[in-house]
């Protein structure tokens, strides 16, 4: 359940919403601290820690060497001793140099210890493409993390959810991977999504991990998506509403755990499913969603599902190629039209 004790909101971009949530938890709990590359004076390459160094000082906001295995591993050790680190992996694409600490240690210690050791930490990381950063700096990869048991994976699409999920992640006794899309941060140096600024509740605002949201209810087709693609899906749904197509958009927000119930409930009503995923298509999130529906009851589908994902190709650099690979509004629209027989 999403809990908010006070109702008033203020308008923040996603980056600022994350920072505010982190700052509030740092105020509340002295065990919370931040570490990572360029999180101090620079304020995070994608502005996820802007101002924290000034507010909390270098003992609680630590710039690290470019040693991801070392400092993510250190966060794990600190967490097992009761601190609550928030550690930033600058781009998720860099997981390759430090994955052992993440999946063999962060994710498995609780299990291997028979539940005797907890690892309460947040691994936050930037994801996504669309600005020609090439094959090593544009991936989403949430399916890769979600595949490996032992870590929760949250993927907010807007400022309020970013704040609420960050608070939930920091308070969670499990390792939580918090994946934020660069395109929703509201950065001054990148084309801005119009919903990268939005109302964020003040006070104690928590979004429960594992609950999807339905930013647009509809009856004709279910579009299940997450992160930046939520905004593309909403834009397309608004456009198609004019043509009499009523698309429901589900924002997963969290994929471990994933709100399977919300998906099934919606598809049971609409009978049509479009999955929009900026991660690679095969062996990932879109296939998992399809499998869960098939396991539940394939007959709720009135038509074969549609997947709008990155075809199995690394993200290309050149803009025409990159946009041929990404789940663009045009591809989402085509899939919805196909589902609705238009």
């Amino acid at each position: 359940m999403t809990t908010t004790t006070e109702q008033p909101t203020r308008r923040l971009n996603t980056a600022k919403a994350m920072v505010e949530a982190i700052a509030a938890e740092m105020e509340r709990d002295e065990n919370v601290f931040v570490l990572g590359e360029d999180v101090g004076a620079y304020g995070g390459i994608f502005s996820s820690t802007t101002g924290l160094l000034d507010r909390f000082g270098p003992d609680r906001v630590l710039d690290t060497p470019i040693s991801e295995t070392g400092f993510i591993g250190a966060a794990i050790g600190a967490a097992t001793e009761g601190l609550r680190p928030i550690v930033e992996l600058m781009f998720v694409d860099f997981f390759g140099v430090c994955m052992d600490q993440i999946y063999n240690h962060m994710a498995k210690i609780h299990f291997e210890s028979g539940g005797n050791v907890t690892v309460p930490m947040v691994l936050m990381t930037a994801v996504g493409g669309g600005y020609s950063d090439g094959a090593q700096h544009s991936q989403c990869l949430w399916g890769t993390f979600a595949h490996l048991p032992g870590m929760k994976v949250v993927v907010p699409s807007n400022p309020a959810d970013a704040a609420g999920l960050m608070t939930a992640a920091i308070r969670d006794d499990n390792p939580v991977v918090f994946m934020f899309h660069k395109g929703i941060q509201g950065l001054p140096w990148m084309a801005k999504n119009r919903r990268s600024v939005g109302p964020v509740p003040t006070g104690d605002h928590v979004v429960e991990i594992g609950k999807a949201a339905t930013p647009r209810p509809g009856s004709d087709v279910t579009v299940v998506t997450l992160s930046l693609s939520v905004h593309h899906a909403l834009d397309v749904a608004e456009e198609l509403a004019g043509d009499g197509i009523d698309a429901e958009v589900i924002d997963l927000r969290s994929i471990v755990p994933m709100d399977t119930e919300a998906i099934i409930e919606s598809v049971t009503r609409t009978g049509h499913l479009v999955i929009v995923d900026e991660d690679y298509q095969s062996f990932g999130l879109s296939g998992e969603i399809a499998a869960r529906i098939a396991e539940h009851d394939p007959t709720i589908l009135k038509a074969p599902i549609s997947r709008v994902a990155v075809p199995d190709v690394p993200i290309p650099y050149a803009r025409p190629l990159e946009y041929a690979a990404l789940p663009t509004p045009a591809r989402i629209k085509a899939a919805i039209l196909q589902q609705t027989g238009r």
Binding site: E37, D38, G40, A41, Y42, I45, D63, T64, P65, I66, S67, E68, T69, G70, D93, F94, G96, V97, G130, Y131, S132, D133, G134, A135, Q136, H137, P188, W189, M190, A191, P311, D312, V313, P314, P316, Y317, A318, R319, P320, L321, Y323, A324, A325
Partner: protein, 328 residues
């Protein structure tokens, strides 16, 4: 500066540095040309991150002067100076940076992902990850009984990455013909060396892997040339790997768009530009004259502008080909 060095070598070093700088200035111009008034990293003819090497020319010029295109170079996210000095085709490289079909990677790679089999040049956007492949190239060269060498480049920030240390050990253990270069430009994005590195210099680290390590101060191109000459010769003669750290200079931001608010040393930076410094020395010692300087600039400008024109004239890749080249 060593008066004993051949005048032609010194002129070549100067010309190489001028070419690199001219190239980086042209890319800078083209990169920002259509990102105004509001900077949008994804917009323009050259989109994406752009890490330029201005100030670091002495390293590439001094090292690559000892290589042929049979030797390998693995560079970093800041690759242009090494690509140019190693002789990568400037037109194909520029077309790649513009994301065009005639680019080295047919528009798939971009500025951090330049692959040129003709010169055995490659680079990576992942820190220190050019080190292990250089060891492998050196292994192949050694296996085949050649005297070819591999040069691996990183920044001082990257020297705190596991891949850096693992590769030094491996190359020393197997006595591979590798020359490891560390470009110490004082900064890893916003983090100064003093806040990232536990030792005063990375040359000291070479000792723990049993290989010679030297540090070249003052971004001095001739000192780089001398140190690299020894290291390359050692590698060619079967003497195994060496490490050279050069104290160089990041003349501009980490990437384009970096306001460098964190950088306390900013004011003194332009005065440390290695090119006017070297030019003054060569002029004073009569190795070059004003006409030679002008000719060097003119030639560089012609070559560079031809490469830019080639890139702009090359077609954009067809979106229908997006799935090409995933597999051989």
């Amino acid at each position: 500066m060593s008066a004993s060095m051949e005048a032609q070598v010194r002129r070549d070093l100067f010309d190489q540095m001028v070419l690199i700088r001219t190239y980086e200035e042209a890319v800078l111009r083209e990169y920002h040309a259509d990102k105004k008034p509001a900077f949008d990293i994804g917009a323009g003819l050259i989109p994406g991150e752009m890490h330029l090497s201005a100030g670091q020319e002495p390293v590439a010029a001094g090292v690559c002067a000892h290589l042929t295109t049979d030797d390998a170079v693995t560079a970093t996210h800041r690759p242009h100076h090494f690509a140019i000095a190693h002789g990568v085709d400037l037109q194909a490289m520029t077309a790649e940076i513009f994301g065009r079909v005639d680019g080295l990677g047919k528009g798939r790679g971009g500025h951090m992902h330049l692959f040129d089999p003709a010169t055995h040049f490659s680079c990576s956007g992942i820190i220190a990850e050019g080190y292990p492949p250089a060891a492998g190239q050196a292994l192949a060269f050694k296996r085949r009984g050649t005297d070819r060498v591999a040069v691996a480049v990183t920044g001082e920030g990257a020297a705190n990455q596991g891949a850096f240390h693992e590769t030094l050990n491996l190359a020393a253990l197997w006595k591979l013909p590798v020359v490891f270069i560390v470009e110490d430009n004082d900064w890893g994005i916003s983090v100064p060396r003093s806040a990232s590195t536990s030792v005063a210099d990375n040359a000291a680290r070479a000792a723990s892997y049993g290989m010679p390590g030297v540090r070249v101060e003052d971004n001095a191109v001739e000192a780089v040339y001398a140190a690299a000459g020894e290291a390359v010769e050692r590698a060619r003669n079967g003497g195994g790997p060496s490490l050279i750290e050069v104290h160089t200079l990041r003349l501009w931001g980490h990437f384009e768009g970096d306001a460098q608010g964190y950088r306390a040393d900013l004011e003194g930076v332009p005065g440390k530009d290695p090119i006017p410094t070297y030019e003054a020395v060569l002029l004073e010692q009569g190795v070059i004259d004003d006409a030679a300087v002008a000719a060097s600039r003119k030639n560089a400008s012609e070559v560079v502008e031809a490469a830019i024109a080639f890139a702009k004239a090359s077609a954009e890749p067809d979106p229908a080909t997006v799935l090409d080249h995933v597999f051989a």
